[in-house]
């Protein structure tokens, strides 16, 4: 049980670092959606099923769709810095 929590939290930190450093903006937004999904699993492990459902449906599905539409209407890659 504790091993699963450690693995998921290390995966979450690695995805968060990836989402800040990637230059392709669509890949960065997909990484943020993956962070939301892993956090929803962590909510389930800590005995909060209501919040896990809300985070999975609102954070991982709708927020990622809104970000991708926003990136599509502007530029798709970061120029510098």
């Amino acid at each position: 049980m504790i091993l699963v929590s450690w693995v998921l939290i290390i995966l979450m930190i690695a995805l968060a670092i990836l989402s800040i450093e990637l230059k392709n903006l669509i890949a960065a937004v997909v990484a943020v959606g993956a962070v939301s999904l892993v956090i929803s699993l962590l909510f389930l492990l800590i005995q909060a099923p209501d919040v896990a459902m809300a985070e999975a449906s609102i954070g991982a599905a709708l927020t990622m769709a809104i970000y991708i539409i926003g990136v599509r209407k502007t530029e798709r890659s970061e120029k510098d810095g």
Partner: protein, 113 residues
């Protein structure tokens, strides 16, 4: 215990993206990371070791072996409000791009640094 360290690390990474990065979409990604970190922190405060979810679905459940229900109710509200704030922020970014033609905040020149 690893939950506290993980959520504070998420908040620190989100602050790094908001303060140091120059692309507007990266700043919005940082705001989302800060919000997720704070939600994880609030729920992990209310955890009781050996507890179960606060729902009286079977006949034999007692109130003494459940986790705290109040942080879950507060976090539910916070998740929905964060999603609507992100939608409004993305709408502002699209309108800024149409007006200035770039997403670099050094060229937009509304902030002083």
């Amino acid at each position: 215990m690893i939950y506290y360290v993980g959520s504070f690390l998420l908040i620190a990474l989100g602050l790094y993206a908001v303060i140091i990065k120059k692309n507007l979409i990266k700043i919005l990604i940082g705001l989302d990371l800060i919000a997720s970190g704070v939600n994880l922190l609030i729920i992990s405060i209310g955890y009781v070791k050996g507890g179960t979810a606060p729902i009286f679905s079977r006949a034999g459940l007692k109130a003494s072996m459940m986790v705290d229900p109040i942080p879950q109710a507060l976090t539910l509200t916070a998740i929905v409000i964060d999603a609507s704030e992100m939608a409004l922020a993305v709408a502002f970014v699209v309108l800024l791009y149409k007006h200035y033609g770039t997403l670099d905040i050094k060229k937009i020149r509304s902030l002083k640094w």
